[in-house]
């Protein structure tokens, strides 16, 4: 690990670097979930979408460079695009299933987790071994002479893209006709109907677009950090992102802060490990999960209604 030469300073640096690296998947999945939930549907299946995205990004990046003769600078980007499209396919299935009469989104979501991860594991088997070309990184650590700092400050362009999408989405919800429609559908379907908006179509598009983002989140995992494809790569990040949206009060900008927070929490364990603290390592690695639980406990109250929650979230249609 890069932090060794820095001694104890390696811990904050490690956490900072880990935040920049590890928060991208959280960011994409939570933005996708935020869009989906704003339209009044829950997509727990984003965990499966994340895995499918990770697998397909890795597979396309590898196949593109090795088999199809795509330049190795381009093939990871092709992988990112395909990961998004794979996500859209899963999103379409979820959108169609969850809008059938008397179907519960949570049940469909859990089915989609299993389906998405199953697909990823099934098609991903041959790609566990080979090495796929990775996405380029933007180095902002050039000012430092210390290699530890340099290697810590490598930012993925996808992360920057995500940072831009967050305010863009906030602006979309506030200042576009379509954004207002999405909020209307999620908060008061009756009102949306009275405005002549098709609830099904809006939700369908939101779920598909959200799944596209989640697919790209998967690409961050396999083509940037940790930069491999394995079956345990997501370690529940898709599900945590759902909790994160609640934490962020369905606000895209706050999704950004929450993702950084979760990404940072995830980096605590490795950063401490890097300076030689082995004790309680599993405990520190569990930080994001403990945080998820804590947030759930803090935000759940029988006496208070959650502010900011879309009114029609999770209600069964028909």
């Amino acid at each position: 690990m890069a932090a060794e030469a820095l001694g104890w300073w390696g811990v904050p640096l490690g956490i900072f670097a880990g935040t920049l690296r590890g928060s991208a998947p959280f960011l994409f999945v939570s933005l996708g979930e935020c869009l989906t939930e704003k339209s009044g549907k829950i997509n727990l299946g984003l965990e499966g979408t994340l895995l499918t995205g990770a697998m397909s990004a890795y597979a396309i990046s590898y196949l593109g460079a090795e088999k199809w003769g795509v330049p190795s600078a381009l093939s990871p980007w092709l992988g990112v695009l395909v990961a998004g499209c794979a996500g859209m396919v899963l999103g379409l299935i979820h959108a169609w299933l969850s809008q059938q009469p008397k179907v519960n989104d949570i049940a469909v979501g859990i089915a989609m987790i299993i389906f998405g991860s199953g697909i990823a594991f099934f098609f991903g088997k041959p790609f566990i071994q080979p090495k796929a070309p990775q996405l380029p990184t933007i180095d902002i650590g050039g000012w430092s002479t210390m290699p530890a700092v340099q290697s810590a400050l490598k930012i993925s362009p996808l992360f920057i893209l995500g940072v831009f999408i967050a305010p863009l989405m906030a602006w979309f919800f506030k200042s576009t006709r379509w954004g207002l429609f999405v909020r209307a559908v999620g908060d008061s379907p009756d009102a949306a109907l009275a405005m002549g908006v098709s609830i099904k179509k809006v939700r369908m598009l939101c779920i598909i677009a959200g799944s596209f983002l989640a697919g790209i989140g998967g690409a961050c995992l396999s083509l940037y950090y940790p930069g491999i494809w394995s079956e345990s790569i997501s370690s529940g990040q898709g599900l945590m992102a759902v909790a994160l949206v609640i934490f962020a009060r369905w606000n895209p900008i706050q999704c950004l802060w929450a993702s950084l927070f979760f990404g940072g929490a995830q980096a605590i364990g490795p950063a401490l490990q890097a300076v030689g603290i082995e004790q309680g390592r599993y405990l520190f690695n569990a930080a994001p999960y403990v945080l998820t639980l804590l947030i759930m406990i803090i935000t759940c109250s029988p006496k208070k209604t959650l502010s900011g929650a879309p009114g029609a979230l999770g209600t069964i249609s028909g």
Binding site: K174, T176, L180, R183, A184, S188, K303, K304
Partner: protein, 520 residues
């Protein structure tokens, strides 16, 4: 009333500088749903700049008629004519193009959005990208000229019911609708709010700016605000006329088909009233943690109906929820038959406490469970409906059949989910469950007749009185003062979470009740 009548005659002549609303005519409109004839050859005319009321019992076809006009439904036959020309209206969007806008019974604004966002969103031609600076300028200008003002930046969830209803009407004015169709616009408003809103609309009509077609079954409002009425009965035209020329009983006759006097209330005096419900210094909070009930004391005796009046939002809902066990009290004690009462199922059963809460579908039913199951919610865990831990479905079914019969619940079958029934029949289902027991000692009822038609209201009032005469102690919380004055023996007014007035009903001072309700 006289100034309204004068205003009507004025409004008939066009006022210079104001574009008069068009003339709307419905010709031989019919609508069939399968074999059901919801609307049968109905014609009516809405003259420009008049306030027209559409009357009828629940299920008389009023909503079907206006939905046909608005393009929600495609009429089986018949036409809509605007200014003498036949118009094809296939959707609410078409209706908007012809200047017809509808205000629904339930609010159609998006709760989490601001007033400004809701107004912009309501426009069918709102731009893809919204230039908020420009929109705000236009909205501020619009708000200045509007009959009522609302803060543009407030979210809908922060508005009171009256303000929400005003927003719905503002929306139509913002869309430049010339003909406003109002579907029971005052059903969620207090009488004072209703008068304010309708008065302001009346002013717009009087100024010759709009015409109004209002669905209602509140005679008080029709007498005060409407110029003309059209009455429907069982999907057919049942009469029309000018409000000036009609009396309430004539209108009621058109609506019901026969003259009906309100049932005289027969009350039996009880000699030895025993205190059944004692409320001691109860405090409770609202959902947002603020205090809603600020220490109330009350005793209800057997064979007595105690009425609690008040404008909604003064703590009566929270008080009923505490008594029903839906909300924890922050302080105080409730005694039933002299024993502390903590709203457990065992205690409810022991003391024979029953509740008719408001919004029965939300508070007293499981919407997806069948009518029979909902009817058995009080008794399913005891013999004969249960044997050990097993349910006896036959007993549940039989009881349901009996209750459906005695309480005249209109349901396709006992197995129909209760959420599929109409509002009146849901209320009857709850009433049947709560009142059928012989041993009932205490009944807590909140707005039991809210939104129901005359027949259902009469029936429910009859059942409540009958229970009182059997010796049941009844706490009746209602926003309908007439209902309280008719039924209760003693009347209290709740204001700001405290009782502000108390007297026997026969000695009640109407003016003082009104003042206490308003918080003076």
């Amino acid at each position: 009333m006289t100034e309204v009548a004068d205003a009507v005659t004025q409004a008939m002549t066009p006022i210079p500088g104001v574009v008069p609303p068009p003339d709307l005519e419905v010709v031989n409109m019919s609508k069939h749903f399968g074999t059901l004839i919801a609307l049968d050859n109905v014609s009516m005319k809405l003259k420009p700049a008049t306030f027209h009321a559409l009357l009828g019992e629940n299920g008389a076809g009023k909503s079907t008629l206006v939905k046909c006009i608005m393009g929600f439904y495609k009429p089986t036959s018949g036409q809509v004519m605007i200014d003498g020309r036949v118009c094809q209206i296939d959707s609410p969007r078409d209706a908007q193009r012809y200047g017809i806008g509808m205000v629904y019974q339930h609010f159609t604004s998006v709760p989490s959005m601001t007033v400004a966002e809701n107004l912009v969103l309501s426009r069918y031609d709102s731009p893809g990208l919204i230039n908020w600076k420009q929109e705000y300028q236009e909205l501020t200008a619009f708000m200045e000229a509007a009959p009522f003002k609302l803060p543009l930046d407030a979210t809908i969830a922060q508005l009171a019911a009256g303000q929400k209803q005003k927003l719905e009407i503002l929306k139509q004015l913002y869309l430049k609708s010339k003909i406003l169709i109002l579907d029971e616009p005052t059903s969620v408003l207090t009488p004072a709010e209703a008068d304010e809103v309708l008065g302001l609309i009346r002013q717009q009509v009087t100024d010759g700016k709009i015409s109004v077609l209002m669905i209602s079954h509140k005679f008080r409002e029709i007498m005060a605000f409407a110029d003309e009425i059209t009455v429907l009965r069982k999907g057919k035209f049942a009469g029309a006329g000018r409000v000036k020329d009609l009396t309430v009983s004539e209108m009621a006759e058109m609506m019901m088909g026969e003259k009906r006097e309100p049932q005289p209330v027969k009350k039996v005096a009880h000699r030895e009233p025993i205190p059944v419900l004692e409320i001691r210094d109860i405090h409770a909070n609202k959902d947002n943690g603020l205090e809603a009930v600020a220490g109330v004391n009350l005793t209800v005796h057997s064979g007595e109906i105690v009425g609690i009046a008040g404008i909604s939002g003064n703590g009566q809902r929270e008080l009923v929820e505490v008594l029903a066990g839906q909300r924890p009290a922050t302080a105080g004690q409730v005694l039933v038959n002299g024993e502390p009462y903590t709203m457990t199922r065992a205690e409810m059963d022991k003391h024979r406490v029953f509740v008719l809460p408001e919004e029965p579908l939300r508070n007293a039913c499981v919407p997806h469970m069948s009518v029979a199951e909902n009817l058995a919610l009080r008794t399913f865990d005891r013999p004969p409906q249960a044997k050990g831990f097993l349910l006896v479905f036959k007993a549940i079914h039989e009881m349901a059949l009996g209750l459906i019969n005695t309480f005249k619940i209109k349901t396709p079958s006992p197995e129909t989910p209760v959420g599929n029934l109409s509002g009146g029949n849901i209320q009857r289902t709850v009433l049947a469950r709560e009142l059928h027991s012989d041993h009932i000692k205490l009944l807590i009822a909140a707005n039991p007749c809210f939104g129901l038609d005359f027949a259902a209201v009469d029936y429910i009032h009859g059942q409540i009185l009958e229970a009182r005469n059997r010796g049941v102690a009844i706490l009746l919380v209602s926003e309908d003062l007439d209902e309280l004055l008719k039924l209760s023996d003693r009347i209290l007014v709740i204001s700001g979470g405290k009782f502000a007035y108390e007297s026997k009903t026969e000695e009640a001072d109407f003016a003082q009740i009104g003042q206490s309700m308003a918080g003076h």
